[in-house]
Amino acid sequence: MTSFSDDLVDGPTASRADPRKPLRFHWSLSQAGNPFRRATQTEQTSGIPAFQAQLELCRFADEYRIDSVLMAIGFARPDPIVLSAALGRKTQRVKFMVACRPGLISPTSFVQQINTLSLLLEGRVHVNLVGEHTPRELRYYGDWLPREGRCSRLDEFLTVCRAFWAEEGGEVNFSGTYFHIEGGRLNTPFSIGGRHGPEIYLGGNSEQSAALAIRHADCLWRFAEPPGRLAPAIAPVVRSGTEVGLLVSLIGRSTRDEAVLAARDLVERLGDSAHDAQLNFERHTDAAAFRSTFALARSCDTGWATSNLWIGAVPFLGAPAIALVGAADEIADTLLEYKAIGVTQFLFTGWPDDKEMTFFGEKIAPLVRERERIEAHA
């Protein structure tokens, strides 16, 4: 396998970041219907999907032109592919960003499931690859590979998947350390007359994740950081033409004061049990992304990393709770500030999701679009 650094310019060509392109917005779905997401130990959450609540959020997403909803993966959740099939048939426009752990399924089987889902949902499928997680949980599934191995396995997995999704088609042959595919073919395509494969997202704050994203993905997900810190970290990815997206919570209200109050209120409501749940998770994860965000949270006494970027909830709710807090115009400004350093997509979480998505769709998104129009004509 070639080393990652040799391949900095070898990303997929279809996804060059373009400042004139409008920002794309996605939303995390999996905990819809649970107002205390992540505030409980995963041991206590129910794996039975809150189908009606999730369907309602998907329909909001349809209405507010959210590009896709993230269907996360984990032992405490329903299976994202099967759940997407059920939700997708009852929605029209929103896409499903299906998470996958590459060690748990043959890449050929995965492509066959994704292609089937896509054909049934008119191509409304992205995939989100997860390489980093808690080794303890992976062993529930029979996956014992140490972290270093997981990275090169993910590389092989995506190489095989992308060969099945390649425009030119043909037999897939691959021989690596983890996968050996001979004469591979699948008759079920990703779409008829549309894309040949899904957009590929890949998450992680480590350099290895960045290299893998450059090599294979359309977009790298990172947790939010202050723009000044983020810009140099993502520069090589942006230069390579792979997009960069941010995972961040939203707490938007009519005024900044209200938003700050809502943020503080969140921490008070969730209290110590949430803190314990997070410490427990942090202790067992080997994901660089989670650890670096926890470190950022501990290094910052005030709870504010910038005037809008609030990390006060991270000790309680985890890295995904790093939040943009403020009035609609402040948040719109911040999103465009990130756009200026090369960020093109956002994956939001709300507390709770339905209210936050409504505020975003009605107050924030129109401001973003208006400013983008002005910039395009400037």
């Binding site: 032992f75 329903p78 748990l104 062993r139 079920t188």
Partner: protein, 353 residues
């Protein structure tokens, strides 16, 4: 005590509605879901009293659990017998997929485990285990699945193919009357029968003479598992007409290519029953109204009960006498035959109970 008779039907595939016989064993139309027609077919199956529809697996087909999930959202009572080849995903992940399905469709999922019948096709998926080891792996896989469904909160397992530590999932199997999905296991070899007796609710096999079926089923029945037949039927008002319809299948313009494609498939297959049934195809009839005339062109599943409703019902009762309790059927034309069977044959079987 013999379990009550149950009838399942194979889901129609893309391209089936046109009724054409394709020249290749792996027809490309079959790989595209035809969701409107398949949904209408499922709704009718449900009304006609079919227990479940079989959703096939293979390189030429859409993924069965994803397709079945979508069909389940459009039906109320019908079950989906989802085919699955163990070895291509983690058993814990598979249980999670099945359980998620169950929570979204009131438990209307059953499973049809198959070991795969073509070493070349297994390699497309990165699987290079030989025949007998695939069954050994299936035994481990199914053992893990069973334990996850049994209500054990944490499953530890160490075998040759799988090592699970503290395996668990938060999403339970949800059904009004069961804690685990019904498991069917298909395959004609000794290994298949053994694993089926041990771990499945029902052993599935292709059609054959009544005597062969009786002999091979006995040890499975003794162990308490059911036995089911995957077989076709062509039912018409007169025997003459039924035979004409069956033989007409071989008059398709594509049939020569299909014979070549089937011969190549059998040659490359390591499935004992695929090869055995191909041998049977030398004779046109296997006794009674059991027809093997299309086997060498259309494969092992094309062994068919051909005759009047009375002929077909009688043959089913003969199988019943040797212990067969479930039938996975299909016929020609693929949709119409389900209607004929349910309207003409099922009532005869009910009245003879």
């Amino acid at each position: 005590m013999i379990a009550p008779l149950r009838f399942h039907w194979r889901l129609i595939q893309g391209g089936d509605v046109t009724g054409k016989i394709t020249r290749d064993r792996v027809a490309s139309e079959a790989a595209l879901p035809e969701i409107a027609a398949q949904t209408a077919f499922c709704r009718e199956a449900e009304q006609l009293g079919i227990d479940s529809v079989l959703v096939d697996i293979g390189v030429g087909k859409p993924d069965p659990i994803v397709l079945a999930m979508v069909l389940a959202t459009a039906t109320d009572r019908l079950k989906f017998m989802v085919a699955h080849r163990p070895g291509l995903m983690s058993p814990t992940l598979f249980v999670q997929q099945v359980n998620t399905f169950s929570t979204l469709a009131s438990g209307r999922i059953t499973l049809n485990f198959v070991a795969g019948h073509s070493p070349a096709e297994q390699l497309y998926y990165g699987d290079n285990l030989p025949h007998d080891e695939r069954y050994e792996r299936m035994r481990e896989y199914l053992t893990i699945c069973r334990r996850l469904w049994s209500g054990e909160t944490i499953v530890d397992f160490a075998g040759r193919h799988y090592r699970i530590e503290a395996g668990r999932g938060r999403t339970p199997f949800v059904a009004p009357d069961r804690q685990a999905p019904e498991v069917y296991l298909g395959g004609g070899s000794g290994s298949a029968r053994e694993v089926a007796s041990e771990l499945a609710d029902c052993w599935l096999r292709f059609g054959d003479t009544v005597e062969n079926i009786a002999r091979e089923s006995a040890p499975v029945l003794v162990n308490g598992s059911e036995v089911g037949l995957r077989i076709a039927c062509v039912t018409r008002p007169t025997r003459c007409e039924a035979v004409r319809v069956a033989r007409a299948l071989l008059e398709s313009r594509e049939i020569h290519r299909r014979r070549e494609s089937e011969a190549a498939f059998v040659k490359g297959s390591d499935s004992e029953s695929v090869r055995h049934v191909y041998e049977l195809g030398e004779s046109e009839w296997l006794g009674g109204c059991i027809w093997a005339g299309a086997v060498r062109a259309l494969g092992a599943t094309s062994i068919a009960l051909v005759g009047t409703p009375g002929d077909v019902a009688n043959e089913i009762l003969k199988f019943r006498q040797v212990g067969i309790s479930q039938f996975i059927l299909h016929g020609w034309p693929k949709w119409e035959e389900m209607r004929i069977f349910c309207r003409e044959v099922l009532p005869l079987l009910k009245s003879s109970h």
